[in-house]
Symmetry: C2
Subunit: 108 residues, 2 copies
């Protein structure tokens, strides 16, 4: 249930690259597509896109499905919850520290 550190790692690393994030967004807008279709939109080779898609899939942000001779990828938006969860957890670390200080001031 609670996401492992490795999962968060994979997701944030995947979203760290601009081209890959753009790929993810395109996938979200267009729906299930192939690397061949995405390549011209990103102005990079099909192979480069294919690699990005594998990274996204490794991070659980996308799923691949083989349909005939094409490999269609689709986005898994639920995976973004991991990012949000991590953000909340980190914010919690911070506020917990403030609690220990007992005050209402975060500086100094």
């Amino acid at each position: 249930m609670s996401s492992t550190a490795a999962e968060v790692e994979a997701v944030l690393a995947a979203l760290g690259d601009p081209t890959r994030r753009r790929t993810f967004e395109l996938l979200a807008e267009h729906g299930p597509t192939t690397a061949t279709v995405l390549a011209p939109m990103l102005n990079i080779s099909r192979q480069a896109v294919a690699k990005h898609l594998v990274v996204l899939a490794d991070g659980g942000l996308a799923l691949s499905e083989r349909v005939g001779r094409e490999t269609r990828y689709r986005v898994v938006p639920a995976r973004l919850d991991l990012v949000v969860a991590w953000s909340d957890r980190t914010r919690a670390l911070w506020s917990r520290r403030l609690d220990r200080l007992g005050g209402s001031d975060g500086s100094r």
Copy 2:
């Protein structure tokens, strides 16, 4: 108000690196600290930490304050909202597509 693409870029790129994310978390737990203090916790040189802190600051995730001869960094947890906002926006892109399809099925 609405975050620019460049800002989101900077934040996600900053959080993409494991060491840098760890630095960010340490900063959240420990409160304002210097690169010198953080270095041994991360098992890397002070300079390496200093660079990470600059990247975090560029992304708005941290703020530096010069106190005497030390440079103290503190976390800006509010900046994590950008990540959450981007996640929401991307999810919206996705569901909007489903709306266009008019159906209740995301596949195909």
